[in-house]
């Protein structure tokens, strides 16, 4: 085949996908590579660099899904990732996914890709929706103007994919000139002056396309200016040109450049788009839905109903499934133990397999039903376009925390489980906002902590159980608000990112999309958190069983000794016993194990456990213990999620540290304060 010439000595072709958020880029990626990946409406969902492979006409392709961005400046991390990939990895072809219903907006990125001298093929995606809206695009004309192949696609249906790949193969050999924006006499003078300087510098011209770099200098691009600040001669020239242009135009050169780009795009769109609907006609259905969903009075009630539905769906359906899994593992443990006993296996081995391995695997797997269901429900909200509206509706409250609407969703998910809650922070574009949202997320009382409250509130406050439990949840929210403000104020003095968020049109989610989405996130949890949980379970088993010969999880075992060592610290909080301390240590594993551990150490279950708790606690110390359970150290799965999402041990330890200190302080405050008030 003639194409082999290009590929000689090469294993594969590298193709990058670039496009705006909500342009259907991820759908196209799935369609191309068959990779199981998220299809979302939420801005910035594809944070990670995702790769997939495919074979077409006997040639191997590596497809890289770049983050969805509106631009290739240095404004967000995503933009920098995308642009660095194009500069440094130099993909053979870049497929620019363009939303056909939104040509003008999308071409802004296209212009920047052309400026980078990327070898472009345009996928004019969602061409069916465009047609339905009465937008007719002359793709040949567009292709002719931009000197770039243009292919109509409908990624969700796989239409046009073959033609796209054929064009990609053709483009590999392309050596000619692409479209170039004429920025006008004054700007072009500045650009060519810098361009020739850049060309003289071998280091620069080797790495960068000179014209692109020259434009970035004129635009005063933050990253580029920083990177080359040491090249004083060049920088002086840049400053000089910037000044001169400012003198001519009366404003920053970057604004002039952007204006020019949009002007050129507007001209191209006029030439290529035959019929354009007026703003009033557009999105009429979406606008009508929005009028209700974001309504001043109805917005919040609708939001609350939607959230209630998510939780009902997750837990009403998930809890029975979890119970079955738990029962299955209990049964499996017993059956295995008796079988091991029958073949005269040593006690230590039996205990290791039953209490360590099987109980450990079980403790991971019981999470699966609620987590997968929760992800499914969240996917429905996201893919339908409602999630962006929920963020909009909640913005008023979140602004009070110095965060904005988008931070609310992770907090809310945290009530179900902090792990997906923390993972959901990926949609926040500002790094500091994201970190603050991650750090306070464990204060959202997750479902696993409820059994502890039920036990203690049931033992002491049977009459006001609901109210007492509610007060704990409320305390978590209040503390999250306070901590978010404190973190924002002292740790990240920076500004909140200005609030601009695209509200994508409402769409009916596809089942395939929802399932892929659920599977992607759910399996990630199982893989990442699962291994850590399992590891800690085994560790705790070892601590509970050693030194050799002690009764499992007794005061003499290492865990018991650890509990005894910690107990004095907990004394001011009213529960300075080794039993309570051990339960809390076990609770780090998974918060609901606090109940199980108390059962083991008191040797009591069911009603007897209530009785035992009444003996060892007072109402006041019980409340302090609940407060401690709410706040202290996130469970290992959450710790693992924090580590993964912050990619920093420093912030992970910070989260562990501050929750521990805060939990202790609050518990002591409750207990000592209560005593002063004569409640103890």
């Amino acid at each position: 085949m003639e194409k082999m010439g290009v590929l000689e000595g090469r294993k594969e072709l590298v193709v990058a996908l670039a496009g705006n958020p909500n342009s259907g880029k991820t759908s196209l990626f799935n369609e191309l590579t068959g990779s199981r990946q998220h299809v979302g409406n939420w801005p910035g969902v594809t944070v990670e660099k995702k790769e997939g492979r495919l074979k077409f006409e006997g040639i191997d392709f590596k497809v890289v899904d770049l983050p969805g961005t509106y631009s290739l400046g240095a404004y967000t991390e995503d933009e920098v990732i995308a642009r660095n990939f194009i500069i440094y990895d130099k993909p053979d072809v870049v497929i620019n996914v363009v939303d056909a219903t939104n040509l003008e907006r999308n071409l802004y990125l296209t212009m920047q890709l052309l400026e980078m001298n990327a070898n472009l093929v345009i996928a004019l995606n969602m061409s069916d929706e465009a047609k339905a809206k009465g937008i007719e695009i002359d793709k040949d004309k567009l292709s002719q103007i931009l000197k770039v192949p243009v292919v109509m696609t409908v990624a969700t249906k796989g239409e046009g994919v073959k033609e796209l790949l054929e064009n990609v193969l053709k483009a590999v050999e392309f050596k000619g000139e692409r479209y170039r924006i004429d920025y006008g006499k004054e700007l072009e003078e500045g650009i060519s002056e810098l361009e020739s300087l850049i060309k003289e510098d071998e280091e620069l011209s080797k790495k960068f396309f000179p014209r692109w770099l020259a434009i970035k200098f004129i635009e005063n691009d933050e990253n580029i200016m920083k990177e080359f600040s040491s090249k004083t001669a060049l920088m002086e020239k840049v400053k000089l040109i910037q000044k001169k242009l400012e003198g001519i135009f009366g404003e920053d050169a970057e604004v002039v450049v952007a204006d020019k780009r949009y002007g050129v795009i507007s001209g191209i769109v006029k030439e290529c788009v035959k019929k354009r609907s007026t703003p009033e006609e557009r999105y009429t259905l979406s606008d009508r839905i929005d009028r209700i969903v974001t309504n001043k009075y109805l917005g919040i009630p609708i939001f609350l109903v939607a959230m209630w539905a998510v939780f009902e769906f997750t837990f009403a359906l998930g809890n029975p499934l979890s119970d079955w899994i738990e029962m299955f593992f209990d049964w499996l443990g017993e059956v295995t133990a008796s079988w091991l006993l029958s073949i005269a296996a040593p006690d230590i081995l039996i205990s290791f397999i039953r209490d360590g391995i099987i109980a450990g695997v079980g403790s991971v797997l019981v999470f699966i039903p609620p987590i997968f269901l929760l992800f499914f429900a969240i996917s429905v909200l996201e893919d339908s376009g409602y999630m962006a509206r929920a963020a909009y509706v909640m913005d008023r409250f979140m602004t009070a925390l110095g965060l904005h609407g988008k931070s609310f969703i992770p907090m809310l998910i945290g009530f179900g489980c902090n792990v997906p809650g923390i993972m959901a922070t990926r949609t926040l574009e500002n790094k500091e906002d994201r970190l603050v949202t991650i750090l306070v997320n464990p204060l959202m009382s997750c479902a696993a902590r409820l059994p502890v409250y039920v036990l203690f509130a049931g033992a002491f406050f049977a009459e006001n159980q609901g109210l007492v439990v509610f007060s704990i949840y409320l305390l978590g929210i209040v503390l999250a608000v306070i901590m978010a403000k404190i973190f924002k104020k002292f740790l990240f003095k920076g500004k909140t990112a200005p609030f601009v968020m695209e509200l994508p049109p409402y769409r009916v989610p596809t089942l395939k999309g929802l399932l892929i989405h659920m599977w992607e996130r759910g399996s990630l949890f199982v893989r990442k958190a699962g291994t850590i949980i399992l590891g800690v379970v085994v560790l705790v088993w070892i601590l509970s069983s050693l030194p050799a010969g002690v009764e499992y999880a007794s005061a003499e075992s290492y865990i018991g000794r650890l509990g005894s060592a910690v107990a004095p610290i907990l004394k001011p909080a009213g529960f300075g016993t080794w039993e309570a301390a051990s339960a809390l240590i076990f609770g780090i594993l998974a918060k609901e194990t606090v109940v199980g551990t108390l059962g083991v150490v008191y040797g009591a279950e069911g009603d007897a456990l209530f009785e035992a708790i009444r003996q060892h606690f007072t109402p006041l110390s019980a409340y302090a213990f609940m407060v401690m359970t709410l706040i202290y150290i996130p469970c290992v799965a959450t710790i693992a999620a924090i580590r993964r999402e912050t990619n920093s041990w420093k912030w992970t330890f910070f989260a562990i540290g501050y929750t521990l200190v805060l939990g202790w302080l609050m518990a002591v405050l409750v207990y000592q304060g209560g005593r002063i008030l004569g409640l103890g």
Binding site: Y75, N102, R282, A388, V500, M501, E502
Partner: protein, 80 residues
């Protein structure tokens, strides 16, 4: 682009249903860049979809944006 004598006012003051042309963006570089990226630049037509409490909803071309009130105050427009 500008009509002579047209009243220039912040976008945040426009009631829903009104259309306007962006005249200028005041405010820091961060805000300006962000708006440029979203296609909100001088000469662009903006439709106010919603403006009561909290962020505005505006239409630019085919898109809809939620726009913080503070940001809307920094976009100067001329009503059409």
């Amino acid at each position: 682009m500008l009509k002579k004598g047209g009243i220039v006012l912040p976008l945040s003051m426009l009631p829903p249903g009104k259309k306007a042309v962006v005249v200028d963006i005041i405010g820091g570089e961060g805000i300006r860049r962000r708006l440029i990226d979203m296609g909100i630049v001088r000469g662009v037509e903006i439709l106010v979809v919603k403006n009561d409490v909290g962020p505005l909803i505006v239409g630019v071309g085919e898109m809809r944006f939620a726009l913080g009130f503070g940001m809307a105050q920094k976009i100067l427009v001329e009503e059409l």
